[in-house]
Structures are given as structure tokens and as C-alpha cells.
Amino acid sequence: MRLDPDPRLAGAPGDPRDVRLYRRMRFIRRFEETLLSLFEEGVLNGTTHACVGQEADCVAVIEHLRPGDHIFSNHRCHGHYLAWTGDAVGLLAEVMGKAHGVVDGIGGSQHLCAPGFKSNGILGGTLPAAAGIALAMKLADDDAISTVFMGDGAWGEGVVYETMNMAALWELPLLVVVENNGYSQSTPIRLNMAGDIQGRFAAFGIETAHIDSTDVLEIDAVAARQVEAVRSTRRPHGLIIDTYRLCHHSKSDDNRPEAEIAERWTIEPLVIHGRRLPDDVRARVDADVEGALNEIVARELS
């Protein structure tokens, strides 16, 4: 669903697919970067979790969802929300605590709700709710699917496993997308997880695809398969995307090796996919996004 968003951000009519995907990732990237700088300038307060570097996941997966489907997201939900709704105004206003924010400024950065979309900052606890939404879809007997985004760290929460078990037992149309950026806040996955994520799905007999990529086209292909698999088989499936967060976990809490981060900047989604576009096209899209976002920010800050 779309809250009639600005085509310069969510996708202009006649955009070839490559351009469209780039535009949508660029939109999310620049929205997050704008938000972070507004925080630095002290214009915003509270907290936020940007998804800089993970835009390809949001866009590639949500490309394949349609009205009637549902997305349950976590604390790092801006990319998912923007990819689903294109609603930059509502999200900026929400983070600014304004009455015309997505949820009137009450929920803030991690607690969003729009038709077919919800998020909650309590890790793991969103999974059974997403399964319940899938159960509702099963009872309604249509072909809608329920998608839930989680990170690697959320696998610490027991309720995640309770949900996997029920979703598999009851054959619920649930797609569990794991954005594995290798860190849970400050903690590298090796200090937080024994075994691996594939094994966690396998334990419940849930078919899972795993991809280590920041290339939106590669992810798009796998996501298409998994979304279609849930839609047609009406059984839960997993999609593990190994990715990387280029920004702080929240606002100023990054202890990762600089070299590690620097290297990931060379293979981030915009770099990889941007190469595929002619320079002038990319420049035009970048200008579109910049223009649209600047207008929105100017309006909201005035």
C-alpha cells in the first residue's frame, strides 16, 4: 500500500526497474542520513535506529509484497516502513513528535502503524504477533502473507522459538526475514549465538534461503522465491540476508573496527547497484530524492 507518496522518492511512473530499485534505496538512505544529522544538530530527540547499509533488504523483499499482506518490523523499521508506504512526511513528523506523525507522535521511531504495517521495539515479541496475523490470513483463506523482519540478536529471545514451532506446526503463511548484520547492538554474533541462524530454522523444519549480499538484484531474486513460496505453499519460510549496518546502532554507539566499516562502504547497496545506472540517470534520481527530501524537511522544520 502507498500513502500517495512523492514519486521522486517512492518511484516515478515509467522508471525502469533498475532505476526504481535504486531510487527507493537512495530514498531510504538519504532519509536516514537526514534524520541522523537532525539528531546531531539537536533538532530531534529521543532515539532512532537507522538502516544505512541495509536498504537493499527492505526494498528487495517489500517489492514482492502487495496490498493485503502484512509487515511486522522491529526497532530498525524506517527502511521497511518507507519501502512499504513511501511516507517520508509521516515518518519524519513522527520522529519529530508531531501530531501529524504516523501515530500522532506517540509511538516514535520504533513504534509505527499503518495499513499492513506495524513495528515494536521489544525484540522478538513481534514474532508471535506476526504469526497471529498469519493465522488470521489462514482462517480468512486468502493468499495474503505475513512478513516479519528481525535481526540476528533477536534470536536470543525465547518467544522467537515458540513462534517458529507454532508457525511450522500450524502451517502459517509467515515469512521470517532475518537481517543478519553480524551485530546485536555492540555484540558480535559469535558472542551471542551458538550454531547458526540456518540451524535455528532447520530445527523446526522451516525451509530457508540464505544469501550473503548487499546487491539488491541478488536479494530480489531470492526474496521473490521465498515470498512466492509462502504465498503458494501457505507454510512458513525463512530468508536470511547477511548484511551490514554502516551507521551507529543507535545514535553514537559504534565500537566496530574502522577498517571493517570502511571496507563495507565499498560494497554497500547504492555503490553496487548504482554502478548499473548511467551516470546521468543516477544523478537525476539523486537530485530527485534530494529535492523531495529537502522540501519535506524544510516544511517540517518551518
Binding site: 500522532d104 521489544i122 497471529g132 493465522l135 507454532m166
Partner: protein
Amino acid sequence: MLVRELNAALHHFLETDPRVVVLGEDIADPYGGAFKVTRGLTTAYPDRVLTTPVSEAGMVGVAAGLAMSGYRPIVEIMFGDFVSLAFDQIVNHVTKYPAMYAGRVTCPVIVRVPSGGHRGYGPTHSQSLEKHFLGVPGLLVVAASPFHDPAAILGALLQRDEPVIYVEHKLLYAEPIVRPDRGRVGDAVGREGGSPGSLPAVTLSFVEPADCTATVLAYGYTALLAMRALEELAIEEEVFAELVVPAQLAPMDWAPVLDSVDRTGSLVTVEEGMAGWSWGTQAAADVGALRFGRLRHPVAVTASGPGVIPSSRARERQVLVGLDQIKHAVREACR
């Protein structure tokens, strides 16, 4: 019998309301649930009645998703003691969604918690943990009572949009439900009343209300104990008190309580939960304030323990609120 009436009510609402879904552990036939409240449901409504794995948090979370999708899930926690495992789902999910999403959704989950002691089940299968859920913003805490029609209560709850914890004391399952009828409640004088928007409270006494010199506020199984206490006190000691039995524990509708207290000038609260920040303390705070200077005695909050509930029946009796403790409190309050 409460268990039969609850079971019939669940059959009725599954039959008449396609939004109703029932979830719980071991609720499938032929077993039909630990206390048989769900007997026959999976046979009659296999799609909308699901026996779940032993996953209290998960099943309440699934119910949250169903509820936000327009369904009316009713979750059975096998023993109320285990609702502790769903505390986060209730506090940070089910009750949060409607408010933190600025009213964009409702999340009407009903969580049934068979609770209470007096059966020698021991420390982890005898508790009344509802006090820990009182004052959770957006949550209704409701208790089955010997004087409230469970079908009417469930029906009213299914008309509302708030999430609910519905407390069922195990000892009430085998008890008959006595409904207020033409000014009487069984052998007592009584009626149903309360403010619009709240579930009704039942007020009863063994003499004319005007002759009562204390008000007893009790719910669930302790309402039955309190009624016995009042009957014995009336017959054996000519001590007369009025009993107010609410179905809704939180938020609390004080109107029926104040109505009685304004006659009697004295209030005793009774609950099986452990003493200390318990249900009755709010009555002491609110009624004490609303009728400041007009009560003969401080509000007497009567509760169990505090402590664990021993499995030894003799020791269990020492910990749980009992008839003598209630009679003593009422005697004092009537003075």
C-alpha cells in the same frame, strides 16, 4: 456449575461470533482442557479452536496478532500461575498496541487464568497472581464470581475492545452460579448495579441493607467465603454486613461500593492474593480518600500470606485467607 456455564458460553460464542478463536494448552478433545472448560470445542470448531504447545508467551502473542486482525481470541492459561510467562506480551504488546499506535488498532485479547489454592497443588499451581496485572494501562482485570452469569460477562467483554485478564478460581468451577433475581440472591437480599461502562457488581446481605454496619468487598472464590461469613455472623452473632461482589477488578467502579459504604460507614476488602500492594489497597486509598472522615474504621484489607502457598493442606490453610479471618475482620468492621 461455573465450569459447565463457561463451557456452554464458549460453545455459544464460537457458534454465534465468527471472530472468536480459542487457544490453550491441552484443550483438544477428548481431554478438553485441564479443567474441562474447553471440552467439546475442538470437535465442534476445529478451525477456530487450537490446542497449543506449552508456550504461554507465544500463544498470547499469537492472540495479539489475531486480535489486531479483527478476531476475538480467548486464551486459556492452564494454571494462572503461568500467566507470568506472558507478562511481557500483556504489558509490552497486547495492551501497548492500541495506545502506542494512537488508536489505529484494537487488541481485544481475553486471557483466562484458572487460579487459586485450597487444593494442595503447592507453590506454583495455587497462586492468584492477578494483583500484579492491576493498573496495567489499558487492561481490564475481571473475575468470575458465584453471582455473575459468565455468559453475560463474556458477552459484554466480547462487545468491548480492551484486552482482558479473566480470573477463574478453580474452586468455583464446581459451584453453582446464583444470579440476582427479583431483589434476591439465593437466600440473601440482593441486586446488581454499577456505573455505565463498567461490568455490574452484585450487592447482597442477609438482612435489610439499612441494618448492615459494614461493607465487605470481595471477588471470585473469596466472595463465596465472605457470603458464608456473613451468613454465620448474622445467624450466630447478629452481626450484619453487606457484601459487594464486583466482576471488574480493574479499573474499579467505586459507585456500588460507595453506595454501600455510605450506609454502613465501614469497609473490609477480601482477596486470596498475597498481602502487600494487593487489590484491596486501592480500595483503601480511593474509598479512604472519597469518604475521608466519614468511615468509623480504616479500610481493612484482608489478603493471604504473604508467602508461598504450601502443598500441605494444613499449612496451606494457614496461608490462604479463610472464613475465620474474614469473620474476624467483619466483626471488627461492624463495631
